[in-house]
């Protein structure tokens, strides 16, 4: 990771410091700390999805299959007596392995073919998970409430994971790997001709996506203390990732972060209180963004920040 410069490290530490500073604000009550947990999870998920979905232009509707593997890995190891923190690497590793196992054949496909294949994989995974008795089958697993990590540790874990995912995303974006992927997105044939090993590069990045998504799954299990195939392997989860990234700005580093926040804000504040029309409100917003701001909110915000700078800086 030659491209992982000092500056990134510095920014990462800065971001963590910032998150530590505002921690008292977010840990003020159980609801806000729950929101922070969800936000971290969304950031992790959206950044991970964006590596392949944004940089390589390979739209996956099957990331729930990786999320679920991570969630179950953490849950089962936890129930077997391991500390939740120690289960995280296993969640990442197993999800990465599973991601490579199906990403290897599927990533040879492009465009809608890949998208539809991922739906197939994810749905098949969900149904099979429903039948695995050792993992509780369709009833899922309940995790020990008395070993709850508590809001502070959960916040810290989430913050580290979320910042790490953004840094990984930035590193990939600037690496040869990332540039190759972007070249590929723009023109597959030309990229192949110029010596980019298309399939292997995508699989490599997809393994990273899978590992991060698995971590998100593990984190989810740790803060909700209940996993069930219907949720953690569900199609709704896969769809929500795509929406987050699209709302924020696809193919950028900060887009997914922004999207994760906007999505959570809408879900919690706008939609839950508008029970009668929330689906429509969401749909209308989606259409609005796609038609008028197809690159998402990130470029707009960047513009705004630049404007502020010019005024005051």
């Amino acid at each position: 990771m030659s491209s992982f410069t000092r500056r990134h490290l510095f920014l990462g530490v800065g971001a963590l410091g910032g998150l530590a500073l505002i921690a008292p604000l977010l840990l003020a009550n159980p609801y806000s700390s729950r929101l922070a947990q969800l936000l971290f999870m969304n950031v992790l998920l959206a950044s991970a999805w964006n590596l392949v979905g944004g940089f390589a232009g390979q739209i996956s509707f099957g990331n729930a299959s990786l999320f679920g593997v991570g969630a179950y890995a953490t849950s089962m190891l936890w129930l077997a007596g391991f500390h939740p923190f120690l289960t995280m690497p296993a969640a990442a590793l197993l999800a990465a392995l599973y991601g490579v196992a199906w990403g290897w054949p599927c990533l040879r496909l492009r465009g809608p073919y890949f998208a539809i294949a991922t739906i197939g994989v994810a749905e098949a995974t969900r149904i099979v998970a429903n039948h695995i008795e050792a993992a509780g089958g369709a009833s899922g697993l309940t995790l020990p409430l008395e070993q709850d990590l508590g809001p502070v540790l959960l916040y810290a874990l989430g913050a580290v994971l979320a910042v790490a995912s953004v840094l990984v995303s930035a590193a990939v974006r600037r690496s040869r790997l990332g540039l190759g992927l972007i070249a590929l997105r723009e023109d597959a044939q030309a990229a192949a001709a110029s010596g980019v090993n298309v399939a292997r590069q995508q699989v490599t990045v997809f393994a990273v996506t899978a590992a991060l998504t698995g971590l998100a799954g593990g984190y989810y299990a740790v803060f909700t203390l209940y996993v069930v195939p219907e949720k953690v392997f569900g199609f709704d989860l896969s769809i929500s990732l795509v929406l987050m990234v699209l709302v924020g700005g696809i193919g950028t580093v900060m887009g997914p972060v922004l999207g994760a926040g906007i999505y959570l804000f809408l879900e919690q504040f706008v939609l839950a209180s508008l029970a009668d029309i929330h689906l429509a409100a969401f749909g209308a917003l989606l259409i609005f963004i796609i038609l008028l701001e197809p690159r998402g909110a990130a470029p707009r915000l960047a513009q705004f920040v630049r404007l502020i700078r010019r005024r005051f800086g």
Binding site: G57, I59, W102, P105, C106, R108, L109, R110, G111, P112, Y113, A115, I116, A117, I119, G120, V121, E123, A124, I127, V128, N130, H131, A188, F235, I239, V242, L243, L246, D276, I277, H278, L279, A280, F282, G283, A284, L285, L286, I287, I290, L291, P294
Partner: protein, 283 residues
């Protein structure tokens, strides 16, 4: 033996339904290169319109096709003209998400109008069946299968024999070339989307004969429609028919001989395998 035959017959009857509900998705993809995520919305809308016509005016679901087809065409063409059209030069995934937005709005509208409860309708022949040798075949399913075949024939004839069919195929093959040779591409797109939606809504009319409906109805059949369309070759109407029937049979055989719980795993695994294997011609 009787069991095997019953299962095969059921597979074929279910498979033709799969085919019918997927025609529209395939047609829209073929012409516009757009994955219509609003497909589920049109299916659901078709069932609700049919249900409403039946419970309010006592209209037979098969007669209501005369209403769902033009209504579907109008709605589909409108969606294309007002929304999809604007994204003609964007990457396919943005259109896909746009149509997801349409689906959300339709779902919400259905909740407001009909509520979330399961709805189903009953006709005089809903539960009738026909004894053929040792088999009993359900009349509504036979009717729907006949419609599915009829839909295939009409669609194939239209594509082959009519001028609009020719234009559709020309745009499907090469949009620029078609435009250069004077095909009104914009209008063809709207027509294709309209026909695709009309097919989906009429599929809803037919499905109302045996499925109950909630606003979430479309979701479970959207995925199945994807399977069928991909297996059939995405743009090939005949392929979709064969794929639908093949999938129906494979599912029922799995359910009967392996485990009922695994019937949907088959369709998704077959879908992925088929995709990966046919990647040679997928670009």
């Amino acid at each position: 033996m009787v069991d095997l035959l019953s299962v095969l017959a059921s597979g074929i009857l279910v498979g033709t339904v799969y085919a019918y509900m997927a025609y529209g998705l395939g047609l829209i993809y073929g012409v516009l290169r757009v994955v219509n995520l609003a497909h589920g919305a049109f299916l659901t809308l078709g069932v609700y319109v049919t249900w409403w016509l039946n419970t309010t005016f006592g209209m037979d679901p098969l007669v209501s096709i005369l209403i769902t087809v033009p209504l579907g065409f109008a709605l589909g063409a409108t969606v294309e003209r007002t929304l999809v059209f604007r994204l003609r030069d964007s990457p396919p995934v943005t259109t896909l998400l746009l149509l997801f937005g349409v689906w959300l709005i339709v779902r919400n509208a259905l909740y407001l109008i009909f509520g979330g409860a399961d709805r189903s309708l009953l006709t005089s022949y809903s539960l009738e069946s026909l004894a053929v040798g040792p088999l009993t075949l359900s009349i509504p399913r036979l009717i729907v299968s006949a419609f599915s075949l009829l839909g295939f024939v009409v669609l194939a004839l239209m594509l082959k024999r009519t001028w609009s069919g020719l234009a559709l195929r020309a745009v499907a093959q090469d949009r620029e070339a078609a435009a250069l040779s004077g095909v009104p591409v914009n209008r063809v797109w709207a027509v294709a989307f309209g026909i695709g939606s009309a097919l989906a809504m009429s599929a809803g009319s037919l499905m109302s004969l045996f499925y109950s409906v909630t606003p979430e109805f479309g979701a479970r059949f959207l995925l199945k429609s994807f399977c069928v369309v991909v297996l059939g070759g995405l743009t090939n109407i005949g392929g979709i028919l064969v794929a639908g029937i093949g999938l129906g049979i494979a599912e029922d055989l799995t359910a009967f001989y392996i485990h009922t719980g695994y019937r949907d795993v088959v369709s998704f695994l077959v879908l992925t395998a088929a995709l990966v294997m046919r990647r040679a011609d997928s670009d």
